[in-house]
Amino acid sequence: MTEFDLVIVGVGGQGTILASDIVGMAAVNEGLPVQASETHGMAQRGGSVINHVRLDCRYGSLIPAGRADAVLGLEPAEGLRAIDFLSRDGVVVVNTNPIFPITVLSGASVYPEVDAMLGELKGRCKHLVPLDADKIAIEAGHPLTANVVLIGALSNFLPLDVGSLEESVSNLVPPKTVEVNLKAFRLGRETSLQAIE
């Protein structure tokens, strides 16, 4: 089975597009047809962003509700916001580190407890892999590698070779940051392996 529908969500500026590209490019390099869709334009200014990435897909880029194989949340509230895309036997890989929206910072809304959101996610999927990607990214050597940490964590579930994913990471990140990004990818992958076991 190489068909795999992935929803990647986050906050504008978190690097959701790079995360999608790592998966999409690796799949194409493995010879799979891919259809993906990205959020550009006004929504990027700190708003909710959503990318669809469909591996081995010959149709359109939009994943039907309830049929995604995985949701990757770069931010916990965004992960939960997208949960309706996920199939019941799907996987959720989610960063536990919140980014408060302006509605919360201004006091107009309340940001839910992260544990409550994880509990909700757990009831809606087969595997839940929560991880503090920002902390792991710092361990890897740079806080901006959190998106790559999460792709590493997701890699255990993707129908793709680790080698081709690592090759995509190397090709897509700035040349000077290849080592730190590969480390981020591997740390994410290990953390999620432990969580599954």
Partner: protein, 610 residues
């Protein structure tokens, strides 16, 4: 392993590559989501053709027309609403026709992802009687480019290529087609009967335009962009257009139904194929054949199918089953097909959440100069003033109460004028970005002065076209390739429009900016305030780093003035002690603009000591 010419590519980048490979001589456009990346990518290819960001879409199309009339291949790119701006040359271009191939790339935005409306520009194609190609996938958009040029040259007609957001901003494994560049000679050839639209010539050319319709329709109808699969004995025929066709194919497969299927991607529609499909379902004994048309937005295909169906024994469904607004997706299409086919279909019902998620609207960035400008504007003008607005990142000023209107590019100054002339007595202060001012704001400013509108016009000059991805404009002194060129002065333009009060200010200097706004408000007549500070995103990309700020908890009185300012870097922590006020804090998002320190009435916000 993939073939070497397959690459994982962005739709707009593939379109740019295809333009380049087709030997295009000139590409012009104005930035607009979802079209902007086409010209950006083309500029990065360092082509030997002329590429430009034009000041607006009308200008862009006319520049492209000039190139075509000189025998060159040209393209003009824009978002769907850009074609409204370019509609004047567009409508008459249909009469005049072209010499070198001319492709108008209209990137439509069903669902208003980043637009003020979701108009369907297939209607423009019908209106002007200009052929239109409506790609289903990024690959198809890329493949259509060279076809469009050849078609345009053969029939001496411009062609619209209409990718939608999902095509422009889609990524997929794309094979860039091998294209033969045409051998052509550039040189303007005088053809007054064709290029000079005097009434006497226009009457003749209108007839020529009509005469071309049938032959163009026939050629488009037999092109590979339309595909008909007749299933023998099927009582249901499904017709789907453009991007809706891929959702429909997926829905048909998932539902496992037997239906004949016609995919349409050309306009005028392929009459012949529609007739074949209608015949296949409409000639079954004792039953009425069912036809369902699935297309995003307007019922363009549906109307054609109804008119072609004539006396055939078929029911044609379309907008009675499929919404006329918003984007489509597989779930919507499955529901429509199930209804027409009489299937028991259990739609996916979204499950509620036990936790309530806060909204996350887009916001102005930490350190965005627009926020500072709006703060000062509101201080000087008060809450009851009228704040007409325009299109750009600064439209997010709606969150600060300084954006009372937003209609289309350039409409701030003009609607402000109308509000004044109608007799509104509150002060009126409108805002418009630098690029938008140069796009269509200048005629409005001239008109305001000429007709005596007592308004303040704020030009938010952040030295870029920010919202669409930071394209240069004439005010930046750089062209599309990043090369230095003439830098337009907003002050000089304003003065030459006859504005007597032109005040420039740096919005990061709050006190001065409030003062300039107050002077503008007191000025009798049209006043201009140029609030100039570079977009924080481009400034940081250039390596500019300012010292961040922090809140001194001993000085903070918990008044929340900085929180009301609305910067995402600031937040408030309520006190856990009874009767104690909480404190503001500044997080790591702070870029050091220092505006909140000026907003704080207690001097509690200070630069982080090094």
């Amino acid at each position: 392993m993939p073939k070497s010419n397959i690459r994982y590519q962005f739709g707009n980048h593939a379109i740019a590559q295809a333009l380049y490979d087709s030997g295009v001589d000139l590409v012009s456009g104005y930035p607009g989501t979802p079209s902007s990346e086409i010209i950006e990518a083309l500029a990065r290819l360092k082509p030997d053709c002329h590429v430009e960001w034009s000041v607006n879409e009308k200008v862009a199309l006319e520049v492209a027309i000039g190139a075509s009339w000189s025998g060159g291949r040209s393209a003009a790119t824009m978002k769907h609403v850009g074609l409204n701006v370019a509609s004047d040359p567009f409508m008459t271009l249909a009469y005049a026709g072209v010499k070198g191939g001319l492709v108008i790339i209209s990137a439509d935005d069903p669902g208003c992802h980043s637009s003020q409306n979701e108009q369907d520009n297939r209607r423009y194609a019908q209106f002007a009687r200009i052929p239109c190609l409506d790609p289903a996938t990024p690959q198809e958009a890329c493949d259509m480019v060279s076809y469009a040029f050849n078609f345009s040259e053969k029939y001496e007609m411009p062609v619209i290529l209409r990718p939608t957001t999902r095509v422009c901003h889609g990524k997929s494994d794309i094979t860039i087609p091998e294209t033969e560049k045409p051998g052509k000679k550039i040189g303007f050839e005088k053809r007054p009967q064709q290029w000079v639209m005097l009434p006497a010539h226009a009457r003749v050319r209108h007839k020529v335009l009509m005469e071309k319709q049938d032959i163009m329709a026939e050629a488009l109808g037999s092109s590979k962009w339309n595909q008909l699969d007749i299933i023998k004995g099927a009582e249901l025929g499904i017709i789907a257009s453009g991007v809706a066709s891929v959702y429909t194919r997926e829905a048909i497969e998932r539902l496992g139904i037997k239906a004949s299927f016609l995919k349409i991607s050309t306009y005028p529609v392929p009459f012949n194929l529609i007739e074949q499909l209608l015949d296949s379902v409409g000639q079954l004994p004792d039953q009425v054949g069912q036809v369902l048309v699935i297309e995003e937005l307007e019922p363009v295909v549906e109307e054609a199918v109804i008119s072609i169906s004539g006396t055939r024994n078929v029911d044609v469904h379309g907008k009675d089953m499929v919404p006329r607004n918003g984007e489509l997706n597989v779930s919507i299409v499955e529901a429509a097909i199930s209804k027409v086919a009489g299937l028991d279909h259990i739609p996916h019902v979204p499950e509620g959440l036990s936790v309530e998620l806060p909204n996350r609207p887009p916001v102005m960035c930490p350190g965005c100069p627009h926020r500072a400008t709006y703060y000062a504007m509101k201080k000087a003008f008060g809450n009851s003033a009228v704040f007409p607005g325009d299109i750009g990142c600064y439209t997010l000023g709606v969150q600060m109460g300084t954006m009372d209107t937003c209609l289309c590019m350039g409409a701030s100054i003009t609607t402000a004028s109308g509000i004044y002339h109608a007799g509104e007595t509150e002060p009126i202060c409108c805002s418009i970005g630098d690029s938008t001012f140069l796009h269509t704001g200048i005629p409005g400013l001239l008109n305001a002065v000429y007709n005596g509108a007592d308004i303040t016009v704020t030009i938010l000059d952040n030295r870029t076209t920010a919202m669409t991805g930071h394209q240069p404009n004439p005010g930046t002194g750089l062209n599309v390739l990043g090369d230095a060129t003439f830098m337009a002065s907003l002050e000089d333009i304003s003065k030459s429009c006859g504005v007597e009060f032109v005040g420039a200010t740096d919005p990061f200097n709050v006190k001065k900016t409030i003062e300039v706004f107050k002077q503008a408000r007191e000025h009798k007549g049209t006043a201009v305030v140029i609030s100039r500070q570079e977009c924080i995103i481009t400034a940081r990309r250039r390596g500019i780093r300012l010292t961040p700020f922090t809140v001194d908890p001993d000085e903070c009185q918990g008044c929340k003035a900085c929180i009301r300012f609305g910067c995402p870097a600031s937040s408030f922590i309520e006190s856990t002690e009874e009767g104690q006020k909480g404190k503001a804090v500044i997080g790591e998002l702070c870029v050091g603009c220092g505006v909140c320190a000026q907003v704080c009435p207690f001097d509690a916000i200070k630069e982080v000591s090094k």
